[in-house]
């Protein structure tokens, strides 16, 4: 009771400097032109993905056998593929798949990684040192794509399974990051004080340690989304990700590779979109990192 009262009293006071900090942070972000560029493009991509049905001029799965392998034209801006489907529309819908894959797999990694990292770092001990940490070491020594590939093979082809596989593969990164942050914070005074005043471990972790780890988690998560998009595209390229006829940039690339000489647009457009998406998210993530802590660079 007492605590919550304290909090409510402190809040209005605390808000001002916080607001100011937020303002300077935003200013810092806006000064970083590349980050702004990345953010704007990322936003546009999210917008495109959400409003794909209204933006796409054609049904992305509609086949037109009389317009197979057409070069870009006014009717088909990015040309058509080997089944006469509109590549522009497929690329737009592909944004849905890629962004979804990036967000959900990172979400999975966070859901597993954050609690494990928090608990492991807070309690330390044998399980932390010899099981969890060595397990993350082991997972990190297997190349992410290889592990994702094997996991996706175990789970079966498909976007959902690919996202689970990617999420699992990304998890150890978050476990390590969060554990490191916890280790840095658990000896701090406010944690000691909390312990001394008999606050439960659970609320110390949740109320005191977790908020302090949010900034680095945000940065890592943003960059992990970019990585996840690449892995998803790789899995789809290898046929283990999104299943046809759903448009995925990776599988479009795989189809297009066979037509590089006769219909290069099939591969070039989705590939360019992967690149633009990943670089935008990376720039945006770098920007957030610099915003939160200019020295971290």
């Amino acid at each position: 009771m007492e605590q919550s009262q304290n909090l409510s009293v402190q809040k209005p006071k605390a808000q001002n400097p916080r607001l100011r900090m937020l303002k300077t942070m935003l200013e810092r972000l806006l000064q970083n032109k590349l980050a702004v560029f990345g953010g704007v493009v990322t936003f546009l991509l999210i917008f495109t993905a959400i409003f794909a049905p209204w933006l796409a001029p054609h049904d992305p799965t509609e086949q037109n056998y009389s317009a197979v392998l057409q070069a870009p034209s006014i009717e088909y801006w990015f040309g058509t593929d080997n089944l006469g489907r509109d590549i522009f529309s497929r690329v737009i819908y592909g944004a849905q798949v890629s962004l979804q894959a990036g967000l959900i797999s990172v979400g999975i990694a966070l859901i597993i990684g954050v609690p494990v990292g928090l608990i492991s770092g807070y309690y330390r001990g044998f399980i932390d040192e010899y099981i969890i940490m060595r397990m993350t070491d082991a997972m990190l020594s297997i190349p992410a794509l290889v592990l994702a590939l094997a996991l996706a093979a175990v789970l079966g082809a498909g976007l959902t399974n690919a996202m689970i596989a990617i999420g699992l593969v990304l998890t150890p990164n978050f476990v390590r990051l969060i554990r490191g942050e916890v280790l840095a914070h658990r000896e701090k005074e406010y944690v000691e004080a909390g312990k001394a005043s008999g606050i439960s471990d659970f609320s110390i972790i949740l109320k005191h340690i977790l908020p302090n780890t949010i900034a680095p988690i945000m940065v890592q998560a943003t960059l992990a989304i970019a990585a996840a998009i690449i892995v998803e595209a790789s899995l789809s390229y290898l046929g283990l990700g999104t299943q046809p006829p759903n448009p995925s940039w990776g599988s479009m690339l795989a189809t297009g590779q066979g037509y590089l000489d006769s219909a290069p647009w099939i591969a070039l457009f989705p590939g360019a979109l992967i690149f633009i998406t990943v670089i935008s998210i990376n720039l945006f993530g770098d920007g957030i990192r610099d915003m939160l802590d200019p020295k971290m660079k």
């Binding site: 086949q63 082809a157 046929g239 046809p244 599988s251 189809t255 066979g258 000489d261």
Partner: protein, 523 residues
Amino acid sequence: MDDQMYSKKLLTTLLLTLLMVLAACGGNDQNDEAAGGEEEPEDLTNNDAEDTLVVGLDDDPPLLDPHLSTAQVESQIFKAVYETLINVDENLDPIPGLAKDWDVSEDGLTYTFYLQEGVTFHDGADFNAEAVKYNFERILDEDLGSPNASDLRLIEEMSVEDEYTFVVELEEPFAPFLSGLSHRAGQMVSPEAAEDESIDLSNEPVGTGPFQFVDRTAQSHLEFERHDDYWGDQPDYQYLEYHAFSNEDTRITNLVSGDLDIVNRVAHKDLEQLEENPEINMSEEDGIGFQGLMLNTDREPFDNQKVRQAMNYAVDREAITEVVFHNGAEPAVSPFAPSSWANNPDLEVPDREVEKAQELLEESGVEDLSFTLTVSPSPAEQQLSEMLKSMLDEVGFNVEIEQVEFGAILDRMYEGDFDIARLGWSGRVDPDGNAYSWFHTDETYNFTGSSNEQLDELLIDARTTVDQSERQEMYHEAAEILWDEAPYIFLYHENDYKPMKDNVQGFNHVPDGLIRPADLTLE
């Protein structure tokens, strides 16, 4: 431990190289290491190009032991290193192989083979009736577990009449017996090599063929050399190599601008381009296989015949052969290719009839028409499956495509864990090979779970009848039953294409799709 040491060494080397690179960079400019290599992409081989024929295969042949072999691509290799008792010509009629002649008794039960004389295996062993007997026994040996034993299963007794005469007694007449001997079951391995524990026939084949095995680089290529003691005509060239390129684009590139001389398979999307290329000759021949959809009749909705029939009308076979195969395939309605004597000309390829399909679906009363279509993840398969989905969804099905590796598809077949699978057959010389094991109740490849007594009877009669016109009747009828039962949706017969460099001559296009390297000459 050896391998760990090995990898350790490799890594150390890597690290040292890294260091050297760093050091070199710190010191001075570094030359671009590729500066010297501005040649054309040629020379896969270190053998003399003039005297080497290089064949491009679509896959690495796993098992080089013909008696254990199941993969189609392995048969390509066998044509170099092994020989069969019986051969087939361009019309798929039997011609002499290692048996220079044979007699079949009136009742079709006794086969007498008169063998070529003066044939030796590559390891020096003599080829004779004992060797044939050894081979047959090897195939029938349960310990070996030969998947090709079924071709010989009806043998009741075999005897060595004299050194070059071999007699086989069958339990009952078996029409496809000879054609089986033109395939894996008729391939003769060296008995000495087979007995030798130190020789692994799966990796180092020893036969009587025109070429003998030299070396194999696993999952990459195989090298052969002319067998100097070959009993027949000596091949035109000294060295023969098989290079595996599972990637169809790479395979074609290496034919067009690399040093492949002939290729066993080509993606249909590349047909036009290759036909236009003046330096490439393309040989085309009707195929003997069939391709289509395997329906699981033990599962809903395909336990309903009307649903299955609806599929027959829902698919547009012409569109498929045009878009996916660039007209390099024939629409199919039965397991027998149009060129086969077993083909039923009365069965015509129907147009796509959406309304009829929908009617049939309505009649069936089945409401849940969603299912998973399992395909292997090759580009053409993917393209095909997407077309099928589009066509089937339109009449009311709800198709989900699932890409699964071929091996895993087979796995699911055996466990009956599938709705519809894209699975076809490369075909056999005798129509029995396209029908019996696929559509007879509970036979090896009848994963559909379908069973039709009348069909079973016909298929058994057809294989135990010797007279071809009688057999033809039976197969015509069988095809009609299959169309009506529709446990399998026949889609197309793929034509066989063999593109080769224009200096490759003498190619004899047998519809079994096998390249007989000894026929080829290099100009």
